[in-house]
Amino acid sequence: MLADYSVLLIGAILVNNFVLVQFLGLCPFMGVSNKLETAMGMSMATTFVLTLASACSNLTYHFLLEPLGLEYLKTISFILVIAVVVQFTEMVVRKTSPLLYQVLGVYLPLITTNCAVLGVALLNLNKDHNFLQSLFYGFGAAVGFSLVLVLFAAMRERLAVADVPAPFQGAAIGMITAGMMSLAFMGFAGLV
C-alpha cells in the first residue's frame, strides 16, 4: 500500500515528469522562470491548485458523471472544476499574501489554462485511479512541476549574467537549457 503510493509519487515527480517528459505546462515553465522567487510562488500556487483540482475532478467524475452516464462531459466539467479551484485560490492568495498576489500577477489566473492541470485530471481517468491515488498523482505531478520550475529558474538566474553569445541570449538559451534538462530527465526512464 505504502509502496504503491511512493511508486506513484516517484513516477509522477521524476519518471513521468509532467514538464520535461510529458511536455505539459510549458507556458508557466518558460514564463515564470526568470526569477527564483516568482518561480517559488508559482510553484506553491500550482501545487495547491493541481492537488485540489485532481481530487475534485475525480470526485466529480465518480459521483456525478458516472452515475448519470455522462462520461462524455468529463472534459467540460473538469475545466469548470479547475476554473473554480483557481478562482478560489486567487481569492485566498489575495487575502493572505498581497505580495505573492502582486508577484504572480497574471500567472495565477493562467493556471486555469495550464494544460498540466487538465492533463492530470484526464490521466487519472485513463489510469483508473481512485480518490486517494488521484490525490497523490496530482500532488506528485505538482511537486515534479515545482521541482523543475525552481531548478530551471535557478539556472536562468545564472544564465542572465553568463557570457552567452548574442544570438542565443534570452528565450533561446532558455529553450536550449530546457531541452538539456529534458534529456537529463529521460535518464529516469525505467526507474519504476
Partner: protein, 201 residues
C-alpha cells in the same frame, strides 16, 4: 429520479452541468464574501516605506498617491527624501531591480527642518497653507513658528514666503534622530559573478 435522468440523457446532462455551475457559483460567492479585501493591501505596505514628507517631489500630491502609482507599476526611484535606502526597501518589497535615484525629482539631502526667523515674519499665513503636515503654527498678522517634531523638511513653505524668512537647516542630531551610517550599497551578487567570469576568461 436517477432512472428518469438515465432515460433522458439530454436532461441529465443539462441538470448535471447547471447543478455544477450553481454549486460552484455559490462556493465562489461565499469565498468572495469570506475573503473580501478592501482596496489594494500592497499600497499600505508601500506607503509604510515612503518617508511621509508629503513633499510632492515625485510629481504626486502626497506619499499615498505615489504608493498607489507604484503599485500600478510606476518607477520606485522618484522619492528623494526616502533616498537610496528607501529605493532598496521598495525594491525588496516589490521584487524589482534596485535603480539609482532619478535626479529629475531632486537629490538626496540630509534630514532638514524649516526654521522661521521670527522677527522678520509678517504673519501672512502663506506658509501655513503650503505646509502639507500642518507643522506651522500661527495666525494672520501674528508671528509664525515651526513645530520641529512635526516638520518633515519638505521645503514646500520656503517658496511661498514673501519675505524669505524661512531657512532650511539640517536637523540637529539628537539621541532620537541619530542612526548608524549605512555602508555604501554592497556590491551586487550579479556583479561578483560577472567579474569572476571576466577573470576566468
Amino acid at each position: 429520479m436517477i432512472e428518469l435522468l438515465l432515460q433522458h440523457p439530454l436532461l441529465a446532462a443539462l441538470i448535471a452541468l447547471v447543478g455544477l455551475g450553481v454549486a460552484f457559483g455559490a462556493l465562489l460567492g461565499f469565498a468572495a464574501v469570506r475573503f473580501r479585501t478592501e482596496g489594494n493591501p500592497i499600497v499600505d505596505q508601500i506607503n509604510a516605506i515612503l518617508p511621509q514628507t508629503q513633499c510632492g517631489q515625485c510629481g504626486h500630491p502626497g506619499c499615498r498617491p505615489y504608493a498607489e502609482a507604484i503599485a500600478a507599476g510606476e518607477d520606485i526611484n522618484k522619492c528623494p527624501p526616502g533616498g537610496q535606502a528607501g529605493i532598496e526597501a521598495l525594491a525588496d518589497l516589490l521584487d524589482r531591480e534596485v535603480i539609482p535615484l532619478d535626479a529629475e525629482h531632486g537629490e538626496e539631502k540630509l534630514p532638514q527642518v524649516a526654521y522661521i526667523r521670527e522677527d522678520e515674519c509678517i504673519g501672512c499665513t502663506k506658509c501655513i497653507q503650503a505646509c502639507p503636515v500642518d507643522a506651522i503654527l500661527g495666525a494672520a498678522k501674528h508671528m509664525h513658528t515651526v513645530i520641529v517634531s512635526e516638520c518633515t523638511g519638505c521645503d514646500l513653505c520656503v517658496e511661498p514666503c514673501p519675505v524669505d524668512c524661512i531657512d532650511m537647516i539640517p536637523q540637529q542630531q539628537s539621541l532620537q534622530t541619530w542612526h548608524w551610517q549605512l555602508p555604501e550599497s554592497s556590491p551586487r551578487s550579479a556583479d561578483i559573478i560577472a567579474t569572476d567570469a571576466g577573470e576566468a576568461a
